[in-house]
């Protein structure tokens, strides 16, 4: 836990979840861990928001879920990406890319203007 941690921007949690799940069937706890590791603790993913988000994505048909056994032999709910989910991920990722490009461009310009 570092003091520089910031909250997740609105709407990006879904994108991150889709990206993690795209790597293969995975259960909720693993998603939480993966998000934590990958974001290197910079971004705070509230675990309490994770499950409602998963259920919402499942409800929208972007994720599907099955009950399966983990390596330790326990039953867990595994999420996987549907075809619709993959398409959504691609659009959202592209959209996000465009947005960040634009934002960083603007930020650089304003620096240049100050010089």
């Amino acid at each position: 836990m570092t003091p520089t941690k910031s909250d997740l921007p609105q709407g990006t949690l879904d994108l991150l979840i889709l990206k993690v799940v795209a790597l293969g069937p995975v259960h909720g706890y693993a998603i939480a861990q993966r998000l934590d590791q990958v974001s290197r603790g910079v971004v705070q993913v509230p675990q309490g928001s994770l499950y409602p988000a998963l259920h919402r994505l499942e409800n929208r048909g972007l994720l599907s879920a099955d009950w399966d056994e983990t390596e330790t032999g326990r039953e867990a709910k595994f999420y996987r990406l549907t075809r619709k989910g993959r398409a959504q991920l691609e659009t959202e990722a592209a959209g996000w890319q465009r947005l960040t490009d634009a934002v960083s461009l603007i930020l650089k310009m304003s620096e240049g203007g100050a010089k």
Binding site: H27, G28, Y29, A32, P46, Q47, G48, S49, Y51, P52, A53, H55, R56, N59, W67, R74, E75, A76, K77
Partner: protein, 896 residues
């Protein structure tokens, strides 16, 4: 899983959610233990990271997207459980609502069946009906002459098409008139003579054959072709699929069937089902004058048209009036001073004749609406009472975090459930009610369309009304409760005293409103009952007890005028010779029946014709000799007609006392005077004065009346009147009449047979309907208001138990307690009565035209209703008061 699958697998889903979160916590905990935390610390941290499990679950449920439905089901389940716990109260509320909604639906359904149902044609709302009339009138309702129709059709620029139709009747038989097979009786049918474009304008196609060609409607009497209505085709021709091309006989003349209309098609009118259609060019065959298509003053056709796309009804009206103005210049005698008014078919229904129906229908809807309000007040009362008993539960739910909206939604769901149950009951009541209303109509000798059974339109309205009452009368208490002061509620009822009295005041106001409305409804009912009483006592001017009437029309079998006279002469002579028959005669239209005929303008000898569209008319009947004897309607002066008053003899006439008074200042002066109808009809001498009677309705002021002798003015369609020697022998008299008619012509149809008092049924119909509905509404309102008062008083007593106990302990007597409670209730009742009487005083003015011989502020009715209500209210207060008086002070004080 589909959303609805998820909905029905709720418990499985809940278990899975629990399992998923448990898995997460377990994994996290074991991870933390592996990192060196103690098991307790690990569990604590895992929980903290995830957040409260119930909150997470709640948000997951929200995320499913079926949340509202789940809540609804939950609320419904809960509502049913609550209702089941108080079956008595619930039953009363459902019953009250059911009755309220039921009577409203029944009335709406009847009005709908009468006048609101659209004509079964293509785009009925775009069907335009022109009316023709005098310029001085505010609204014009008249029909058109055929010649004027043709000019309007050809010269207008705004109609895509304009058709004409005229109501006709005919006897149908399958043989030719003079050599038909034995026992082949004709029957009387209603039909229409229509222009060739009629079916195109209506937008209805025949199911068999074709409709009329232009050619068939171009030369008078040249093309005897007929299109059959579906019911006639089914009934009389056994749905013969090969009917097209066959010959049938209308008024004894052969017509070739060219088509059959679909079953839904009624014809041009919403109230009569037409059995056949002929080209307008055949009109003369059905009793129209020879010059029917050339005389511009002979207005016998009504029109329907469709506007060109984009044309407004006002534009079309201006357009037709331009044509009318040019006609007025060309034909000043007939067409001067006229104007045309356009209406949609639906609006045009409320022409002169149906004004009373419209007015009565609206009135009935208004009064039944009042009854519904009384019923709704009961529901609001119930919801408020329930709200009080549930204040604690709701307070706790609010305290532990339920949102106000969630609570309101719960209460709303419950009241909607209640109102839907009420609506269901109401539907059943309405269904039965319309059958009762239908059965209360006397037999009418016309194929009237009277299907009052609730249809889709009515169902939609009823649903809307049910839901609306549910929302309005469920919402008020719901909002009221949601404002509950949490602290007070949870601390206990004692602290909520101020709220309680506020609630009681609200309930008191509801009771006052119920009493007020009930008084208004009861006074309406009282006035109608008094009016019916007056109607039954009103002397119609003739004796109907021993009277048998039936309609016969030899013209239906193509008798010529001479043959018709001979037929009726023989019939009357033969009947009078029969045992059991005191007297027999004939009249063209019975007084106080459906139809009436006006003659005029009346011109006294030596005076000139009045200018067009001015002048006085009088209702007229054509009668045979002995009419006055048969009706036991004495002549006050002069003599009756005889067979010798025929076309060879000087024209004579009998008038009533009112006619003599109005035109000649009295019977003595009128005798022997002569008058005529305008436009050159011969002068007629007054040879007798008949006693005044009632002619159009029992409500009318004295009317002038003219009797013309049958043998000077032959008519084909007549009503046969037979006065029996005694009332018991009426059925035998009918049998005798049938036998005698068959002796003269076996094929002749007999219709509209009425025995004794049945002859008065049509005259009694309106007051009887009004009194019947008024009584039903009045009793309902009274019962509902009494239930409301009673339940409020019971509640008040239960709330005041403690106070009563203290008073009793301090020495108050049973009598004091009775007075205390009864006076509390009667205060509300008296306020309601005063308001109700004032309201009725203001409102009953509107009933004036529907009442007979009773003032709209009839003191007997007003006082009687007030006394009735006070009596019933005293009873409704006394029972709770008795309960209060029986309170045991010790028990009461120990409460709470």
């Amino acid at each position: 899983m589909r959303w609805w699958q998820r909905l029905f697998r709720r418990s499985k889903q809940e278990a899975e959610l629990e399992k998923e979160l448990r898995f997460h916590l377990d994994m996290h905990t074991s991870d933390l233990i592996a990192r060196g935390h103690s098991p307790e610390e690990a569990r604590r941290q895992a929980r903290l990271a995830l957040g409260g499990p119930e909150q997470v679950k709640e948000r997951c449920r929200d995320a499913r997207g079926t949340r509202w439905l789940e809540d609804l089901l939950q609320d419904l389940r809960y509502g049913v459980r609550i209702f089941a716990k108080q079956p008595g109260l619930t039953a009363i509320a459902v019953l009250a609502l059911g009755l309220g909604i039921g009577v409203n639906t029944a009335i709406l359904s009847t009005v709908n069946g009468f006048v609101l149902r659209p004509l079964p044609v293509e785009k009925p709302s775009e069907l335009i009906e022109p009316f023709w009339g005098r310029k001085i009138e505010n609204q014009v309702w008249g029909p058109f002459s055929y010649a004027n129709y043709v000019d309007l059709r050809d010269q207008n620029k705004t109609f895509s098409d304009l058709c004409a139709w005229s109501e006709i009747s005919a006897g149908i038989s399958s043989g030719e008139s003079r050599n038909a097979g034995d026992g082949e009786r004709a029957e009387v049918l209603w039909g229409e003579a229509v222009s060739a474009n009629y079916f195109d304008v209506m937008g209805v196609k025949p199911i068999l054959g074709r409709d009329f060609t232009r050619d068939e409607d171009s030369t008078p009497n040249a093309h005897p072709v007929v299109v059959l209505g579906n019911q006639l085709w089914q009934r009389r021709f056994n749905s013969d699929a090969a009917i097209v091309g066959k010959t049938i006989y209308l008024n004894g003349l052969p017509f070739t069937v060219v088509g059959v209309m679909p079953e839904s098609f009624l014809g041009s009118t919403f109230y009569l089902r037409k059995a056949f259609f002929v080209p307008s060019m055949m009109a003369h065959t059905f009793g129209r004058r020879v010059e029917w298509n050339t005389d511009r003053g002979y207005a016998t056709f009504k029109l329907y048209g469709r506007l060109k796309p984009g044309v407004k009804i006002a534009q079309a009206e201006t357009d037709l009036n331009l044509v009318a103005a040019s006609l007025a210049q060309l034909y000043p005698t007939e067409d001067a001073e006229t104007k045309i008014q356009l209406m949609t078919e639906a609006d045009g229904r409320f022409a002169d004749g149906t004004k009373v129906i419209e007015y009565g229908g609206l009135l009935a809807l208004f009064v039944s609406g009042l009854v519904l309000l009384v019923a709704c007040a009961n529901v609001a009362n119930l919801m408020l009472a329930r709200a009080v008993t549930r204040a604690k539960e709701i307070g706790i739910r609010l305290a532990i975090g339920a949102s106000r909206w969630r609570i309101v939604r719960q209460l709303l769901t419950e009241s909607l459930l209640l109102s839907l149950l009420g609506g269901l009951l109401g539907w059943a009541i309405a269904y039965e009610g319309t059958q009762v209303i239908r059965a209360s109509f006397p037999p009418i000798p016309y194929p009237a369309v009277m299907d009052f059974t609730p249809d889709g339109y009515v169902l939609k309205w009823m649903l809307a009304v049910s839901l609306l009452t549910g929302v309005i009368f469920g919402l008020a208490p719901a909002l009221f409760v949601s404002r509950t002061d949490l602290v007070a509620v949870i601390k206990g009822a004692a602290a909520g005293a101020s709220h309680r009295s506020r609630r009681l005041n609200l309930r008191g106001a509801l009771v006052v409103a119920q009493v007020t409305i009930s008084i208004v409804v009861l006074i309406c009912a009282g006035l109608f009952i008094r009016s019916l009483g007056k109607a039954l006592k009103t002397d119609p001017g003739f004796r109907s007890e021993n009277l048998v009437t039936m309609m016969i029309n030899p013209g239906l079998l193509a008798y010529d005028p001479g043959a018709i006279k001979r037929f009726f002469h023989e019939l009357q002579r033969n009947l009078q010779a029969q045992p059991g028959v005191r007297a027999a005669s004939l009249i063209n239209e019975m007084p106080l029946a459906v139809a009436r005929i006006s003659s005029g303008p009346i011109v006294k000898e030596g005076e000139i014709d009045p200018p067009p569209n001015k002048g006085v008319y009088s209702d007229t009947s054509i009668v045979t000799p002995r009419y006055f004897d048969t009706m036991q309607m004495p002549l006050v002066q002069g003599r009756d007609f005889t067979e010798r008053d025929d076309v060879e003899a000087p024209p004579v006439v009998i008038v009533n006392q009112e006619f003599a008074r109005r035109f000649y200042g009295g019977a003595d002066n009128a005798m022997g005077k002569r008058f005529r109808f305008a436009q050159g009809t011969p002068l007629m001498e007054i040879i007798g004065i008949a006693k005044d009677g009632r002619y159009r309705s029992l409500y009318e002021d004295p009317q002038t009346y003219i009797y013309l002798p049958f043998y000077q003015r032959s008519r084909a369609g007549m009503t046969l009147l037979i006065s029996a020697q005694s009332g018991g022998a009426l059925p035998e008299v009918v049998a005798t009449a049938r036998h005698e008619i068959a002796q003269l012509d076996r094929r002749l149809p007999i219709y509209g047979v009425m025995l004794g008092k049945e002859n008065m049924e049509f005259a009694y119909l309106a007051p009887r309907l009004a009194a019947g509905m008024g009584t039903t509404f009045g009793v309902l309102a009274l019962v509902l208001a009494t239930i409301g008062l009673y339940s409020v008083m019971m509640y008040a007593v239960s709330q005041r138990t403690r106070e009563i106990g203290i008073r009793m302990a301090l020495g108050a007597q049973v009598r004091d307690m009775l007075r205390l409670i009864v006076s509390q209730g009667m205060r509300m009742v008296l306020i309601g009565i005063v308001l109700g009487l004032a309201g009725a005083f203001a409102l009953t003015r509107a009933l004036g035209s529907l009442l007979l011989g009773v003032g709209t502020t009839d003191p007997v009715t007003f006082v009687g209703v007030a006394v009735l209500l006070v009596t019933v209210a005293l009873l409704a207060c006394y029972i709770p008061a008795r309960r209060a008086a029986r309170v045991d002070p010790l028990v009461a004080l120990r409460q709470e």
